[in-house]
């Protein structure tokens, strides 16, 4: 008995990638209702308004715009939990959105750029950004850090929007 017999798989006619994908898409309960995707998107939007919004408040404070009566450190102390909550909401709703059709996202160039920018933005936020914000005196590179942070997060948003406006390299179609 071969391994494929044991697992009940028939590869005699080759592995049908599209049929496999089709089966996987049907398996996903998210694809059984046409409402799940838009509802998840709403959570995704609230998540990024909360996380990117609070990050922007601190960034603008570093730039000397907006909240001028507080130092960036004080603002960050007050908003970090909301930033984290927004990030978690955004990340989990994003993973569920991704699961609705992984192949499509994998072949979508704005999505790939978005993921690179997102990972960079999160790493930047919890390393360089955090250090710059935490210093009680005005950091010398504060404005550069704020601009980089804003640019990275703006890039994430642009990438997210463009996902819906281009076809993947291969037009696999949807069920």
């Amino acid at each position: 008995m071969t391994a494929s017999d044991f697992l009940g798989l028939d590869f005699s006619r080759g592995f049908d990638r599209l049929a496999y994908r089709h089966a996987m898409l049907i398996e996903n309960p998210l694809n059984s209702s046409e409402y799940s995707f838009p509802i998840l998107e709403c959570f995704h939007i609230v998540g990024f308004a909360l996380s990117i919004g609070t990050i922007a408040i601190v960034d603008f404070s570093l730039l000397g715009v907006g909240m001028r009566r507080q130092t960036p450190a004080q603002l960050a102390k007050d908003t970090w939990l909301w930033t984290l909550g927004g990030l978690v909401l955004m990340l989990f709703s994003g993973l569920l959105l991704f699961s609705s059709d992984p192949d499509m996202y994998y072949l979508n160039w704005p999505f790939l750029i978005k993921m690179v920018l997102f990972v960079s933005a999160v790493i930047f936020h919890y390393t360089v950004h955090r250090k710059a914000v935490a210093s009680e005196t005005t950091p010398p590179n504060g404005k550069l850090v704020a601009c980089t942070s804003l640019a990275l997060w703006a890039g994430v948003i642009f990438g997210g929007i463009f996902i819906g406006f281009v076809y993947p390299g291969l037009n696999l179609g949807r069920i």
């Binding site: 046409e34 009566r69 908003t79």
Partner: protein
């Protein structure tokens, strides 16, 4: 009357040019989203402060006063981008139920401002001296959260409604169809009218 206004505005040179560009719509939408992050983030933090959940280290007047002007800039960005998108496809938006709901909710925001401005937002320093946050303030904040969240959800819903193509006169050039034509050969003929490009992932 509204329909003829929608047809007129989308036929103006500016909005026709905007609609003719495949990149303009996604770029404007991205800036709309960026505005939502800035403006929405400040709205969320203000309302959560009034409800006593966030930024409790700072007084209400600190939060309200300092967010007032930045919020206006954020709203200006969001509304400008919104008008650009709606104007370029005005006829399609006219038939869109979620767009209508969004406009009604925006009118409700104006009403909210008229009702609560004097008691809540006009004099934040008085709220600092009050022993606890008054019920009116919390009601205003909760209503504001509910209204803005609904507006965001309605906005997302707009893209999911198929426009009645037989009734729409606008010619739309979409990035998706251009890519598809390049990939799949001349299934789309040169010079042929391309219509409707709202993103619908379930399509």
């Amino acid at each position: 009357m509204l329909l003829s206004f929608a047809q007129w505005i989308q036929a103006t040179g500016f909005f026709t040019a905007l609609r003719g560009s495949a990149y303009a719509y996604p770029i404007v939408l991205s800036m709309h989203m960026l505005g939502i992050a800035f403006f929405g983030g400040m709205v969320l933090m203000t309302d959560l402060r009034l409800l006593g959940f966030a930024m409790r280290e700072h007084s209400i007047s600190d939060v309200l006063d300092q967010f007032r002007v930045p919020k206006r800039w954020g709203l200006l960005l969001v509304v400008t981008c919104g008008i650009l998108m709606a104007g370029s496809k005005a006829e399609e938006y006219y038939y869109n139920t979620f767009f209508r709901a969004k406009l009604i909710l925006l009118a409700a925001v104006v009403l909210h401002e008229l009702v609560f401005y004097r008691g809540v937002y006009a004099d934040p320093a008085a709220l600092d001296q009050a022993p606890g946050t008054p019920g009116t303030v919390k009601t205003a904040a909760a209503l504001s959260l509910l209204l803005w969240a609904s507006i965001a959800c309605c906005g997302r819903g707009i893209g999911y409604i198929e426009p009645p193509l037989d009734k729409i006169h606008a010619r739309v050039h979409s990035l998706k169809e251009a890519t598809l034509a390049a990939l799949c050969g001349p299934s789309v003929q040169k010079g042929q009218e391309l219509r409707c490009c709202s993103f619908n992932p379930m399509r």
